[in-house]
Amino acid sequence: MEENNLAISVKNLTRKFKDFVAVDNISFAVKKGEIFAFLGPNGAGKSTTIKMLTTLLWPTSGEILVNNFDPEKQQDKVRKSFGIVFQDPSLDEDLTAFENMQLHAYLYNVPSKIRNEKIKQLLEFVELWERKNNLVKTFSGGMKRRLEIARGLLHQPEILFLDEPTLGLDPQTRNHMWSYLKDINAKEQMTIFFTTHYMEEAEKIADRIAIIDHGKIVALGNAKQLEEQTKTKSLEEAFLALVGHEIREEEASNLDQLRMHRRMHHVDRR
């Protein structure tokens, strides 16, 4: 059984939003223990793909296996087998770092005997143990990201999904984060699937890279193979040769606006 060595297997996967095709008939496979990158500009369909792999969206058509389970039919088995760090924050900012971890441990049924020990170990690992009793809303962006990573690892997943994990982080934090993750990948054979639009990141971290644009995978291989395919000298040139030079609009985050709203709303309540 070849399938058994695969962490992820995707065949002819398509997702439409009304008439708009966000993910267009893509196929790829990720081996167990591999670090695999989805590299593509904004709006390429990276997050939509991750959402389908992680049971948050159903495919319009196509087949997915994650750890040999079908996300649509074997939801809970798939869910137990991966950890995820979303593109947008997903912590409860009104709880402490420890409480966020604890909540996750309960949701994933981490046995009570090892729960606290495991939380301690991971918070130490991402250097947040000292801050465990601080509310998350007092954390910097980098600290929140680290906490999300620790949380994603808490139930010892076989695959870790990271959707643009380093977006908005400074280079030091970024390096730090990847050194933890490569460490775990090496030690525990944990598969890592991440998306990025930084070429250096894909090149430096990933074993293999899929370049995705307008919902299609336009090339797949390690950095060297991609350069050879496009007859270019660097991944950057290869990338530009494949997806062109046009600028993609960054989708504006309205989170700040929201925060303001929330404050107003709280005032309202009084």
């Binding site: 948050l56 979303f86 912590l91 309540r269």
Partner: protein, 248 residues
């Protein structure tokens, strides 16, 4: 079970953590109790109806239960917009347990808030007459808390953001409160008012609580309980159904 517990705990923890909000939220009921309770008291008495504060207090207790419950349910919008909902949605737990944990937590908070206001009414001079019916009064508070937390969750599952929130407040929550018979007796209402009042779920809570606390009941305690139990069950179903349809 574990999921329901931890999501319940989250809600309760966050409530006790926001002390300023607890104290702040007591301002409104206090204002109503003092301005209406003492302001209208003399007119009410002259009309031969007895002590207005006695009549008013149950409605004000339920007002704070109503508002707290709706807000706790609507909080789901923030969970969605700030991303926390995704964390629960990818977890290997059923959506039903997420919805129940959240609703039970919200309802617990609303019940506590109601009990605090109850104590407040006692301080101001409200005197329940039927002490042996206090457990029944608690049941009414619990049902109203559950009913309207589920209602808030249902609304939050449909609303994309807080834009529609003011609309809901002004055209749904306020009318639910003001038309519930909290301020004026059910007897002698004009026909259309009587009909509207009967459609309002809170009416049965106010009637039931008044019945169990001061012994003055319009529809009958059993009838009030039955209606509220049915409505609460219905709303829990609707809330769960809409919650199931949320995409993140």
């Amino acid at each position: 079970m574990q999921t329901i517990y931890i999501l319940w705990l989250r809600q309760v923890k966050k409530y006790f953590r926001s002390r300023s909000r607890i104290i702040g939220s007591l301002g409104q009921p206090l204002l109503f109790l003092i301005s209406f309770g003492f302001g209208f008291g003399s007119i009410y008495q002259k009309a031969g109806e007895g002590n207005y504060l006695q009549f008013l207090a149950p409605g004000i207790i339920l007002m704070s239960v109503l508002f707290t419950a709706i807000f706790s349910g609507i909080d789901l919008i923030w969970d969605r917009q700030f991303g926390f909902l995704k964390e629960t949605m990818v977890a290997p737990v059923s959506r039903l347990s997420i919805m129940f944990g959240k609703t039970l937590g919200g309802a617990t908070v609303a019940i506590i808030q109601g009990l605090i206001v109850f104590v407040l009414t006692l301080v101001i001079g409200f005197r329940p007459t039927n002490f042996y019916l206090l457990p029944v009064a608690l049941i009414f508070i619990i049902l109203i808390a559950l009913l309207f937390t589920a209602f808030g969750t249902a609304i939050a599952s449909v609303l994309e953001d807080m834009q529609g929130f003011q609309l809901i407040m002004n055209f749904l929550v306020m009318p639910i409160f003001f038309l519930s018979g909290a301020f004026s007796p059910m007897e002698g209402l004009p026909k259309f008012m009587a009909i509207i009042t009967r459609i309002d779920p809170l009416t049965y809570g106010v009637d039931g609580l008044r019945g169990s606390l001061i012994g003055s009941v319009h529809f009958g305690l059993g009838f009030d309980l039955l209606i509220l139990a049915l409505l609460t069950t219905l709303l829990l179903f609707i809330g769960s159904y809409l919650f199931f349809k949320i995409e993140v």
